[in-house]
Symmetry: C2
Subunit: 274 residues, 2 copies
């Protein structure tokens, strides 16, 4: 099951259009609504997680959105594709992924989005002056979204370095990332993230006095199975209580296809509104 | 919608059988599997919460179970009614509720359970020697269950003192109650509790280094509505990760009756196994 609906292989090409030495692919999302350049067969490949994360931003959002740890930019592109009035900034530490995002920006298929998307190479775990110097400006963003690396050191080792970097969860990572999200969000701004259920405690703790009114949506593979992801939103400085929202089921019954709801969310036809 | 299926009013009677000055009722649970004496029209009345809490104890449980803040004893009685090999101790601070539990013990309808249930008046928030002196012995219990008071000071005031006491959530309450649960549970013993979703952060924090392998089951009134309760179990000293389990829906669609699953759980015909 892949979210990308169309893929072009571009093995090790080095031409004017792409200028990437490593093999990469160009994948269609939102049924051709936008395309992403991604390293082929290695690194964290964008899929359902990024699409569900993007679905947390409401249809009527305006202003500026920051995608922290954006990777190739899947979530940020998906938001820009669905919501016409948002300016999207992708922040990513990996030079290779930043290059992918930059190449996606100049794809002719993305011409309708490119003017609203910018890419900055930055480590979102930075604090203080280093964070400001990296371009993560205070109180600027109406929305902050993040799909943080979700494997930690107790998981089995990932097979390649790029994937390992994308998936490696350092100690206190949520604390650092959510601290940054709070710093760059305007008052009343919305944090949206996707994570694994066992990170819930660390996330809630990191949101303390930063983001309130937390709304948690469990994502289950099928009815009757434990959740594999949580979708979470919060509002900067809100004191409202945590709510557990109706769950999402990726598949209905024994079907291999996505449930209608998840298919709509993953293709930009619906959003998960607060 | 009430879980109790049969009720006898006993207005202000003061006789040999009951010896309770205040009006009270005798309510049937588990379709007559056991009966509870409860203050009439005031105090926290046992219902679905207590029955779902009891459903968290597995069918094959053996040894000793402590019901912390037992009220009239609904959850403890429900466990004893379903599981034949458990010895149940009810701990309750309110003298009036302890008296109700004691009267339930001597009801002829409960004769089959009474030898396995005992009642102790104790404040489960006690620590150290005071806790031991109150009868909350260290490392004795295979299971600890709790349905802590769930209104806090920001909720609207409850209309009567007894209900207010049952529902008043003091600061750090979960921390105190879960500390006691950990102290009295044997290594590997199971904690089971029911609470409101917004208490999840405080509960997870209180379980830190005490109970692990947390399993959280959201309880939604109906599909598409936010959860109104969480059921949570944990194992003393486990280091396993938190899991978000499949949700329960109290009602299906627009039906007024309980869903089949919740009806089974609330009547002792099924359990929510880990």
């Amino acid at each position: 099951m892949t979210v990308a609906t169309n893929r072009t292989k571009a093995d090790g090409c080095r031409d004017n259009e792409t200028d990437i030495a490593a093999p990469h692919t160009i994948d269609a999302f939102h049924h051709g609504g936008f395309y992403l350049v991604q390293p082929e067969g290695k690194g964290h490949r964008a899929g359902l997680d990024a699409m569900l994360l993007a679905a947390l931003v409401p249809d009527d959002a305006v202003g500026r959105l920051a995608d922290l740890g954006a990777g190739a930019g899947a979530a940020g592109f998906a938001v820009a594709s669905r919501i016409p009035d948002l300016l999207v900034t992708l922040f990513e530490r990996s030079a290779q992924m930043v290059e992918c995002a930059n190449r996606s920006m100049i794809l002719p298929q993305n011409r309708h989005l490119a003017s609203r998307i910018s890419v900055l190479q930055a480590d979102v775990a930075l604090g203080g002056r280093a964070r400001l110097a990296a371009g993560l400006a205070d109180s600027l963003y109406d929305h902050v979204i993040m799909n943080p690396p979700f494997n930690d050191s107790t998981d089995r080792t990932t097979p390649d370095d790029l994937k390992a970097e994308a998936h490696a969860m350092t100690e206190h990572m949520f604390s650092q990332w959510i601290r940054t999200a709070c710093a760059i969000a305007r008052p009343g701004g919305q944090l949206s993230l996707i994570a694994r259920p066992h990170s819930l405690a660390e996330i809630i703790s990191a949101c303390d006095r930063r983001f309130g009114g937390l709304q948690v949506t469990p994502v289950h593979p099928r009815p009757g199975q434990n959740a594999i992801r949580i979708l979470l939103t919060g509002i900067k400085a809100s004191r409202a209580r945590l709510a557990l929202c109706p769950p999402l089921f990726v598949h209905d019954g024994t079907e291999r296809a996505f449930s209608a709801r998840v298919d709509d969310l993953s293709n930009g036809r619906a959003s998960l509104t607060r």
